[in-house]
């Protein structure tokens, strides 16, 4: 089996390459869109005190732990033929998988961003108020100061996206050469008793996860070094 796995990994198997391609395309797209939603959402929560902040924070924390199958179910119902966006015919396509992942990942990025910002915002706000810097300029300075930890939250979102299986299976349908991604392929191949492709994909997934985690670790170490030097 090892020989077959290595042949798959280093050979030119079209299905494996296609699965990796769809996975990366879906994960990158969903992470980027989630970052565009999650970062402003997190900054708004972390940098300001406002009425309803506690309830918004609780909702965000709940959504951070949203079970993927629930997210998949919601998106499935919305995109199904009789659903509100049924006319778009997006079900069982990569965009549908991206939408499901955005529902899952945006709150994670928002929650992490809010934590990052809330650690620095009180001190930045006091300092800026003391020298007459207010409004948008103060917010921009806060965002600039948190930019490196923001990368960590986006990478965490990407890590979640690439490893997710439940929601993408439900709305993507695991269609060969169309919506099959690494996680759904591993599950299917394992169920069929064809372990070579499953193991090969598992190795690729682990390597990607390792790279993402290494980047996160490096950024966190760098940030800590800068703050304590």
């Amino acid at each position: 089996m090892i020989k077959q796995v290595l042949e798959l990994l280093f050979g030119a198997d079209p299905e494996l390459r296609q699965i990796i391609g769809v996975t990366l395309r879906m994960s990158v797209m969903s992470t980027l869109i989630s970052a565009l939603i999650g970062i402003p959402w997190g900054v708004a929560m972390g940098a300001n005190q406002f009425k309803g902040k506690a309830i918004l924070s609780r909702i965000t924390n709940t959504l951070m732990g949203l079970p993927p199958v629930v997210a998949g179910l919601i998106v499935f119902l919305v995109l199904s033929r009789s659903g509100p966006l049924g006319k778009l015919s997006l079900l069982y396509s990569v965009p549908a998988m991206v939408i499901a992942q955005v529902v899952l990942i945006s709150p994670i990025i928002a929650g992490m961003t809010a934590n990052i910002v809330s650690l620095r915002a009180p001190s930045i706000n006091e300092t800026c108020a003391g020298i007459g810097i207010n409004g948008w300029k103060r917010l921009w300075l806060t965002i600039k100061e948190c930019r490196i930890p923001f990368v960590t939250s986006v990478l965490a979102g990407f890590g979640r996206s690439i490893a997710e299986v439940g929601a993408v299976q439900m709305v993507g349908g695991n269609i060969q050469f169309k919506t099959r991604v690494m996680t759904t392929a591993i599950m299917m191949q394992t169920n069929m008793g064809r372990f070579e492709l499953a193991v090969a994909l598992g190795i690729v997934l682990l390597i990607i996860s390792f790279i993402v985690n290494s980047l996160v670790h490096r950024i966190q170490e760098q940030t800590l070094r800068d703050r304590t030097a």
Binding site: S123, E126, G130, I131, K144, D226, R227
Partner: protein, 225 residues
């Protein structure tokens, strides 16, 4: 003149500051002393406008230029010079004035260093330069030398005196050191558990305090200094 009337500040239902009446006259230097939790920071934050009183009125700050140095100022990740110049954003001579302000706090050798890499004492001096680079009608400093060493403290106190003489601003600062209050302030206010216990000319309050609580605080300080 700044006036506080029936000012109360509560956090989570607990009264942390309660001042029925208090006035700060223009051009005078006021030192707030008291132990941790006495309400010094709360009072300064309310005057700075970063915290609103639960009830009561603060008058005399509308339209005034108010400078404020918080207890834990933020050191931005850009250079020390830019950290100070940011207070003068838009002025052509911002960097030149920032350089002068840094010299005044003894930080001329660190102008190119990144703010986030400074030690606690250096960051505090940089933050002081950032405030002192502009002119204010009212200057509020929350423990401006809490992280600095003795030599830097002398330097900073001299700089502060010169700044006040030059700008004629009202200076209100808090300190853990009654000796510093004596050196810098015209008037000293002793706070305890969120209440103003005693207020008076610095020399008078130190040498003949009237309230037993002030006497106890100063006795404790003189025994431990």
């Amino acid at each position: 003149m700044i006036a506080l009337r029936d000012v109360v500040q509560q956090f989570g239902g607990r009264v942390v500051l309660e001042i029925p009446g208090l006035q700060f006259l223009p051009g005078r230097r006021y030192g707030l002393i008291g132990e941790n939790g006495s309400g010094k920071t709360t009072l300064i934050r309310m005057l700075a406008g970063t915290s609103r009183p639960t009830s009561g009125i603060i008058e005399g700050l509308q339209g005034k230029k108010v400078g404020y140095l918080p207890q834990s100022p933020y050191a931005f990740s850009f250079s020390v010079l830019e950290n100070v110049a940011m207070a003068l954003d838009g002025r052509n001579d911002a960097k030149e004035l920032a350089q002068k302000a840094l010299v005044a706090v003894g930080m001329e050798s660190l102008v190119e260093a990144r703010g986030e890499r400074l030690s606690g004492g250096e960051a505090q001096r940089m933050a002081l330069a950032r405030v002192l680079v502009r002119s204010y009608d009212v200057l509020l400093l929350d423990e401006p030398t809490s992280s600095t060493d003795v030599r830097s403290m002398d330097f900073i106190e001299t700089t502060l005196k010169e700044y006040v003489e030059k700008t004629h601003c009202t200076l209100i600062f808090s300190t853990h050191s009654p000796a510093q209050a004596l050196r810098l302030a015209d008037e000293v206010l002793y706070l305890e558990k969120g209440r103003l216990v005693e207020q008076g000319p610095a020399q008078g309050l130190f040498h003949s305090p009237e309230d037993e609580r002030t006497k106890a605080f100063l006795r404790h300080w003189s025994l431990n200094s």
